[in-house]
């Protein structure tokens, strides 16, 4: 048997023996970004379709969570930076080749947009709300006249944000597990599923609940389809990508991925939603919580496993 001993004098902290430069911040940030993208996507979509009053939670109520979600997400991203006082450098450069730059700019665009969207609907939550200053009232009236246009912008920006959370990973050819463009749609689907779950949880209208159970079910179906394709693609690729796929097919991440992401995060909520659609009374909290947990675990597992996968030479 041919043997090979590889020894290296390198022992840089956080790089060796396996890369571990990204900790909890990145998966939390990607989860919150995806969730915000999901909520805003449905808010914009149902406004454009003219169903604001039918699906009130989706269009008017759930978006109030988004500014908070984005701020917490950006806070996590900020904590991840090791040269924090220079964070503003992100906004003195536009680099089209860098997904990180895309992410910073799309967040700069979508965060104010989500706040404006909340301002349109603040009276839904606080009927006696008064803007007090004439300028603000005028500004709100002015922006309101362009609400549908803003909704279109928000729809597109939400898709970019959702896809970006996956593209951030897939742009790295150094990490074979991540280096597949299917992560873009997969992370978008995961974000949409999380967004639908939050709306499903918050809604008080039976009709809206059923709609979002249906949407979530369809998106979970798409996610499962994309996961199958992810592994098909990796297994049909080069040796390093086959090794990356094996992390989930017998390797160290097998149990956590299939139990938390696929079974608890997709299959069980899907079954519960089917039961709900058939008329059974399922507490909304259970499927919604499981979907959100699955979505968060998906990002954690992918962040850690991706750093574990590498080229060997």
């Amino acid at each position: 048997m041919k043997e090979e001993i590889f020894s290296s004098g390198r022992m840089n902290p956080m790089i060796d023996p396996t890369l571990h430069i990204w900790h909890w911040h990145i998966p939390v940030y990607l989860f919150l970004g995806g969730l915000a993208a999901g909520i805003l996507f449905f808010a914009a979509l149902y406004h454009i379709l003219g169903k604001e009053n039918e699906y009130k939670t989706a269009v008017k109520i759930a978006p109030f969570l988004v500014p908070f979600i984005l701020v917490i997400g950006l806070g996590a991203l900020f904590l991840d930076l090791s040269h924090k006082i220079y964070f503003w450098r992100l906004y003195t450069t536009i680099r089209f080749e860098s997904p990180m730059s895309w992410g910073a700019w799309i967040l700069m665009f979508i965060t104010p947009l989500s706040i404006i969207w909340c301002a349109f609907h603040i009276r839904e939550l606080m009927p006696k709300w008064d803007w007090k200053f004439k300028l603000v009232i005028r500004l709100e009236e002015f922006l309101r006249s362009y609400k549908t246009l803003l909704a279109w912008f928000m729809l597109v920006a939400a898709v970019i944000l959702g896809v970006y959370t996956g593209i951030l990973f897939s742009a790295f050819n150094a990490r074979p597990l991540w280096n597949t463009s299917i992560l873009g749609p997969l992370f978008l689907a995961s974000g949409l599923s999380a967004g639908a779950a939050v709306i499903f949880l918050m809604s008080r209208s039976h009709k809206e609940k059923l709609l979002f159970a249906k949407i979530d079910l369809i998106v979970i179906g798409i996610e499962l389809f994309l996961i199958v394709h992810l592994f098909m693609g990796l297994l049909a690729s080069t040796q390093v990508q086959i090794d990356a796929a094996m992390l989930f097919l017998g390797g160290p991440y097998t149990a956590s991925f299939w139990i938390f992401v696929v079974i608890l995060g997709m299959l069980i909520p899907a079954i519960l939603e089917i039961l709900e659609l058939r008329g059974a009374k399922i507490p909304a909290l259970i499927p919604a919580f499981l979907v959100l947990l699955g979505s968060l675990m998906f990002r954690f597992i992918f962040t850690y496993a991706g750093q574990f996968s590498s080229w060997t030479y």
Binding site: M1, F6, S8, G9, S82, H83, E97, S98, M100, A174
Partner: protein, 177 residues
């Protein structure tokens, strides 16, 4: 101008002098390194084959680290040398993750650090610290665009390889085999 380095794996004894010279020249923080030695032993005893390599940043012509950097801190400098501007680096870690050779590390001061081909020495007409101290003279450094440079000549006559060519980064660190 295209700076490159070649390491003769037949001459390298793996003494780590290059590592220490680099740490001293560049004030590399204790516990970190910008270059390192890799030893690979293959075969079944007593028929063994040994390869020693002094490795560092490959100063790739198509660098994923430069591509991924959101602020332009990672950039190409003279002769295609990949450098980092600490005052532009936010420490996001994208470049570290993007490097197939894992050549970068987070400096304790927050920014990302790696080999610079000792550009400050090269500009003064000196060789990089690692090259200048090598006791077996197994390292060659120079400009590939000059046909008569030491490195151009050695790459013309010696069989050589690059690491992970399939990563598509066009590395500029050559190993004579």
């Amino acid at each position: 101008m295209r700076y490159a380095m070649a390491i003769d794996t037949k001459k390298c004894v793996g003494c780590s002098d290059c590592v220490v010279a680099c740490q001293t020249e560049n004030n590399v923080p204790i516990g970190y390194c910008r270059d390192w030695i890799v030893e690979i032993t293959e075969g079944v005893y007593p028929e063994l084959r040994l390869e020693n390599r002094s490795e560092r940043c490959n100063h790739c012509e198509s660098s994923p680290c430069v591509r991924c950097c959101p602020t332009g801190a990672s950039h190409y400098s003279e002769g295609g040398v990949v450098l980092i501007t600490p005052e532009k680096c936010i420490g996001c870690g994208a470049c570290i993750t993007s490097c197939p050779y894992d050549a970068r590390y987070p400096h304790p001061d927050g920014y990302v650090d790696k080999c610079t081909f000792c550009l400050h020495r090269v500009k003064d007409g000196l060789k990089p610290a690692c090259v200048s101290v090598c006791p077996t003279k197994c390292m060659y450094f120079g400009d590939l665009d000059v046909p008569n440079s030491e490195i151009s000549k050695v790459l013309k006559i010696r069989k050589h390889k690059i690491l992970i060519p399939e990563a598509g980064t066009k590395p500029q660190l050559y190993f004579l085999i």
